[in-house]
Symmetry: C2
Subunit: 206 residues, 2 copies
């Protein structure tokens, strides 16, 4: 029996920090895990900028309320859920992502949470479980699932490598080059084709 | 961060074997895990009856196509998905349950599979993972989720006891008596109230 794990930002929804950076005119917040492999370093960098600029959680949430899932993502996800079980493994925070989860029909999401003060400022964050993408995949495999994964960046690598089969979705050129053994999908239609082939036990090469 | 695991039959959808037994006029198939705690014994009993009666998988699927989720189950599930993450842990078989999963919006389901011959008869079944309900809950807790569970019968007991907090949904009198420390919900509204209290960290006593 199969189970699919998906990264969220860049695969089903836009990069939320990038969207906020553009909406707020704060280009220094455009850095993502695609640019900075050290997640804690990236988050300290982001929260430091927000604190100095006086940005509250609600300011970010207002921007995210206006975002939509990536084009074709909902149809892809609905197709995938009808064929197998899907768990989204993301390093996002539940307080950010709720409006977009609603638009995706509330798929099963494993992520982290923000620490928000009574004044509405983000004081910090709680990583629910370090390296949870890899540990989740390993846990599902121990439950005798064959696990197929898709992701786009550095924080997906341990998940992709722990899975039975993996695919890169719209990776950066450098990430694709560093993982040249993995197939690449540039559209949700291609991703659907590759997962279909995985489920049918067919070979897929780049 | 919370995660809810739910039994399926009797909690969100009708007992499928009972529904088939009634539709096919085969009352000997009305036995469920609520009556027989030994699941392998129950399944051998069921498949033996089907084989002798010449019943194929498609005969059972036709009946299940006509079933609906329990009244209020879809609204309950949608509310729960909007508040937390939900994984359904069931000892059903994926070939049986697909039409009802569609009607529930394809929630994440961990279950087993039937072995079906080229002639369409059910030759046997593959338990994906023995005691998977308990092992799944233990796995989710290792990923630092606080796990809340609901179930109605003997095959849920190890799941309910592995969870941080548990509730019985419409249990038999004997199952309720044997687990008198657990709260009981008789309706989905009551179940919603109890899960809400769990999420808010409140005490719930029967």
């Amino acid at each position: 029996m199969n189970l699919v794990t998906l990264d969220l930002e860049g695969v089903l929804i836009p990069e939320m920090w990038v969207a906020f950076a553009d909406a707020a005119g704060m280009p220094e917040l455009r850095r993502t895990t695609r640019d900075e492999p050290d997640y804690d370093k990236l988050m300290r960098y982001r929260l430091d900028i927000l604190g100095r600029a006086g940005v509250k959680l609600e300011d970010i949430q207002k921007v995210i309320e206006g975002l939509e899932p990536l084009e074709g993502a909902l149809e892809f996800l609905n197709w995938l859920k009808s064929r197998t079980r899907v768990v989204i493994l993301s390093d996002t925070f539940e307080q950010f992502v709720d409006p977009l989860m609603r638009k995706l029909g509330y798929p099963t999401l494993f992520c982290h949470s923000l620490n928000v003060g009574a004044d509405g400022f983000i004081d910090g964050y709680t990583i629910r479980c370090r390296d949870h993408k890899r540990l989740s995949v390993e846990g599902f495999r121990k439950l005798n699932f064959k696990v197929f994964s898709a992701g786009d960046s550095y924080n997906d690598l341990s998940m992709l490598r722990a899975a039975d089969r993996a695919v890169l979705f719209r990776p950066t050129d450098s990430f694709a080059a560093q993982n040249s053994d993995l197939p690449v999908a540039k559209t949700h239609a291609e991703l659907r084709g590759i997962f279909g082939a995985f489920m049918d036990g067919q070979e897929v090469v780049r």
